[in-house]
Symmetry: C2
Subunit: 662 residues, 2 copies
């Protein structure tokens, strides 16, 4: 049976390599376009190389610690996990920085052609990363069927990469974005993506390293973690239930491939094409999963697994749709927030922030429904309740191949728009790029909600798996250690958010100084007669991002271990619970308020409420800038942070049980 | 023994009446001053009367429901609780609106005299409200020694008033403040407290109804609730432990009276005088508590109670001090946030928000330490652990008489400054008023931290008391109902915050329109030749506040009951836990980020980084406006919200146990 997982992983990787060749075959367009896209590619490569060197050092140190404390095999799996995901995300990025210019060039021909190039470019990331993850886990399980702690090590390695990619990429992209906007748009009044702006290449690079590499790594990290959690919780019911999560994941991968086939283009609507792809993936996944559990010979228990999977999938959809409501340009929250900009920046910010806080409610209710439903439906058919919850997370994440593909499409078309503007391809091409971009924004919003929901359920499963590993039968909230653990867990996400946002702020102020300096000191730059020093800005963004990510990343790994050793395993259980409760709230609040401000600004820019240049627009730009690190740095990093914390606790659980002070 | 509590309550009330006569005897100054202060007094009276009429309707409906479901005595106690606290807070407000003008007049003589009038004016609120609360609880206990549910009803009544006062007053004050600033300062560039601004009287009224009435009600609501929780948890150990919280509270009241005596004025430093008063209260309270537990004849268990009390007091101090660090004008967070304003409003907001998230850490660690310490110290000496935690909350809150007094001093001197400016009393008087005001700001910051810490420990005690009432032995976090309960509890504070902030926003936009209209339509207003229509703005603020407070207040009562009936008592227990975890985080985040922005603006206004009128100043004003409803509406209301939710759950606990669906 395990062979299915191997085959799915290999097929997925093969498909992504095929698509890479397909993209590479496309024409890059004129000289100017090639020049710009090369600058972006080189910047992105340079950053990822630096990030990977820093990561390698980090992984090396961690591997030694893990090797000494937990054994050679776990350390090896940890390194293997980090390498697999690094290769996959590097490959995805390499594809994205090649697809952007080719999408721009295809847009000179037709919307349809451009959409294909953009979407298949994104699919490379989705397929390569899912393939590597699934293959990695299933190979490890093949060699160490009795040692799930080794697979836990693999997951921890993947999460370490994800944390670096998400935090570093997030700081990088927003450093560049904010600096480009503050000096370019606000101070000098030059348009977005203007080639005179020294930060513009760094900004384009940021879209790739932040959104493509970052988001891919983020989802894949939850994906692997939820597989491991489900395998651990399945162990009590027999080997079939340990393999089952891998099989469901394999089916999800096949369904994603079929879904991509259906991401066809009809009636000139890229948004509809993406939705059709996602919907067919849902459908095929549901049918195939039913056939799978039916054929496994586990009787009624198969139905329990099937319904739990379905509960997760539906919850994922609910979260996606509600996220979309709160950030869509034609709905009340965005319209009211745009309206509020007329009364000044402060009122605009208060409005977006309030809607962000409200947006937390529907997804959390969705998660609660998924928990209760999967718990019960599993229980009714004789599957262990907690396994049901873990399987619902697997259900949510199994179609991650399609989700990442639709998501990575976003920054590719965003970049292609930037390239089109910088190379002066003219109105028609830019309008096509705009339409591709608008569809990308919705997909991006849905993915974020999906990623957060999946992370919550995954960490919840890890939390239960942790309790299983340390032998906690009950985690009593009236026990003072548990309460204290929950409190400390609850303050950790906002504290790490603060570090990340301050990191962006510090780094952005460095770059703002540099951009101002260039405009001041390079003669003829403002008039467009000379070229700015793009490389200098790219360098500042990269150096700063790597500097600012270290503290939050180390804390995410060290704090849970410290809580475990100092306050005991019950406190650590409470800590994990607390980190989920506030983690999901802050993640949603930040992602959605940021999205609301962003689209409120876009609404005004579309000509309403005074349009570009009005007082309302200035206010909305301030709101959007506040939202930048909210939605693209701190918010999405929280998912990974809480996953890493839960994995850190689970990996070191055997030691905590023995050596804890309490 | 109970007599001590009666005596303390009566003494406290008597002292406040005496001080009221003392204040009333002071001279009100010239005709202009009298005119302005009368406008404020009439506005505040009018608002409070309206609020109390709305509250009366609410209490009437609730009392009928309670009477039918839980019996006549509980309903009566509920009404009694609402009436006692309403009278006390109305009396305190009446004193504050009389003390403000007299403080301004005294400032024409000397700083020392003005400080006395301001401080004693604040002490009236502190003493009357503590006296009424203590007397009310001790009288009810005298008549219903076996029915703690009746005292729970009293507490619920007091909390209903607190919720209205806090939410309504908070919306009122920020509606007026934001509108006055947006049109006056930002659009027209006229100074703060300028008599030409139609919103200026509403703004002064707001300081009174928001800060004096609101904050007093907030603390007293925690005060009563923690007494009840401790009494319920003490019942298992015998009657002495039921009476003990009342005795500690009585001692705290005496200590506060002594402390006020020591709030003397030396070396021209009002801040030092306030600190001396607070410190002597701490000291006398500690000594007297030790003597009390020693004389009670409960042996070593007395020591357990004493140490638990001390743990609460010390935690209260830590929270106060750390809050002060994050919002003080001469410390890193404020300085960095002010510096950030140079890069624009967005960076200023990101900085203050990040420090706000960081500021959550030390107080929560303080609360955790108090929990662990009081739990253990009580346990060591044979007192029940949970009683220890409840007593630490009592310890924190028992000196609330002094705390409220120092706090109510703030808005009085703030108002006196406004009156001095509007009546043109000249530079010297305004400088004195400024110095009084600066001391008031610190006291206000400390009180807020204190109020939040106390609310957290109180609700924690209520949460344990609730578990006792519904007979829950353990609240297992791995149980799906508990997890779902925690999730729903966790999203409730941010959701209610969102409603409150949007309420302020909606109301402020109404008032902004009105202020703009007056400047446009009243001839000669901008030049100061005619008077604006103050009453119209006062009316908008009042009507809007009452309209916007209803939804969050009703939800705070209904949601816990709904969770209890639909998902069962375990889910409701989890709900209460969840509401504390995020409640305290959002309360601290909002209060402290708001304080940071406020003082960053004041720092720039003091002439640094370009001073008033610079770009940095404009950015800081935007930050301050975002912070206004954070720190004065949503943040402080959360304390009361989580208390009301816990009381709502506890009051209806007997029904939930019987009729819950699960």
């Amino acid at each position: 049976m395990l062979l299915i997982a191997h085959v799915a992983g290999i097929t997925s990787i093969a498909a992504s390599i095929y698509l890479f060749y397909y993209i590479n075959k496309q024409d890059r367009g004129n000289k100017k376009m090639i020049e710009i896209s090369e600058a972006i590619r080189i910047g992105a490569d340079a950053y990822l190389k630096r990030q990977n060197i820093t990561l390698a050092g980090f992984v090396f140190v961690m591997a030694i610690i893990i090797g000494i404390l937990l054994g050679f095999n776990v350390a090896l799996a940890y390194i293997f996990g980090a390498i697999c995901t690094t290769i996959a995300s590097f490959f995805g990025m390499a594809a994205a920085v090649r697809a952007n210019v080719r999408t721009a060039n295809a847009a000179r021909k037709s919307l349809k052609k451009a959409f294909s190039v953009g979407f298949y470019g994104g699919a490379i990331t989705g397929l390569s990363i899912v393939g590597m993850a699934l293959l990695g886990v299933s190979i490890l399980y093949y060699f160490y069927p009795e040692h799930l702690d080794v697979i836990l090590g693999f997951s921890f390695g993947a999460s370490s990469l994800a944390l670096f990619a998400k935090a570093g990429g997030g700081i990088y992209t927003k450093t560049a974005d904010i600096s480009a906007d503050l000096v370019g748009k606000v101070e000098l009044g030059i348009p977005e993506d203007d080639p005179r702006n020294p930060a513009v290449i760094a900004d384009n690079v940021g879209d790739n390293v932040g959104d493509v590499a970052g988001m891919g790594a983020d989802l894949i990290d939850s994906y692997i973690a939820c597989l491991v959690a489900a395998m651990i919780l399945g162990a009590t019911m027999g080997v079939t239930f340990v393999v089952l999560p891998l099989l469901i994941a394999a089916i999800g991968t096949f369904a994603s491939l079929i879904g991509m086939f259906f991401t066809r283009f009809k009636r000139d609507n890229p948004g509809a094409a993406l939705n059709r792809g996602t919907f067919s993936t849902f459908l095929f996944f549901t049918i195939l999963t039913f056939l799978l559990v039916y054929s496994l010979g586990i009787g009624d228990r198969g139905l329990g697994v099937f319904f739990a999977t379905l509960a997760g999938l539906i919850a994922g959809m609910i979260i996606g749709i509600t996220t979309d409501y709160f950030t869509s340009i034609d709905r009340t929250p965005v319209l009211r927030t745009a309206e509020a900009a007329k009364s000044g920046a402060a009122i605009n910010i208060l409005s977006g922030f309030s809607y962000g806080m409200m947006s937390v409610v529907p997804p959390v209710i969705g998660i609660c429904a998924a928990i209760l439903a999967s718990w019960y439906l599993a229980g009714i058919y004789g599957v262990s309740n907690v396994y049901g919850v873990a399987i619902s997370a697997v259900g949510m994440l199994s179609i991650v191949g399609m989700i990442i593909s639709a998501d990575a499409y976003g920054p590719i078309v965003d970049n292609s728009k930037g390239i089109a503007e910088q190379s002066g391809l003219g109105g028609k091409v830019i309008r096509i790029a705009d339409r591709l971009d608008a569809a990308g924004n919705t997909a991006k919003a849905i993915t974020k909600g999906f990623a957060i929901g999946a992370a919550a359920l995954t960490v919840l499963s890890l939390f239960v798996a942790y309790s299983e590993l340390v032998g906690i039968k009950s985690l009593d909230l009236i026990n003072p250690y548990v309460i204290v653990g929950v409190f400390i867990g609850a303050i950790t996400p906002p504290f790490l958010c603060a570090l990340l946002i301050l990191g962006v702020e510090k780094n952005a102020s460095r770059m703002v100084e540099e951009v101002r300096r260039q405009f001041r000191e390079i003669p003829g730059l403002v008039k467009g007669k000379t070229k700015p020093d793009y490389a200098k800005c790219v360098d500042i963004a990269a150096k700063g991002a790597l500097k600012e990510l270290i503290t939050p990343c180390v804390l995410a790994i060290v704090v849970p271990i410290a809580v475990g050793f100092l306050l005991g395993k019950h406190a650590l259980g409470g800590f994990l619970g607390g980190s989920i409760f506030t983690g999901i709230i802050f993640a949603l609040l930040m992602a959605n308020s940021g999205g609301t401000w962003d689209n409120a600004k876009k609404y005004i820019e579309a000509g309403f409420l005074g349009g570009k240049g009005s007082e309302a627009h200035k206010s909305a730009v301030i709101g959007d800038t506040v939202g930048d690190p909210f939605k693209d740095t701190a918010g999405p990093t929280i998912n990974t942070l809480i996953t890493v914390m839960a994995l850190s606790a689970s990996v070191f659980a055997p030691l905590i049980v023995v050596y804890a002070l309490v």
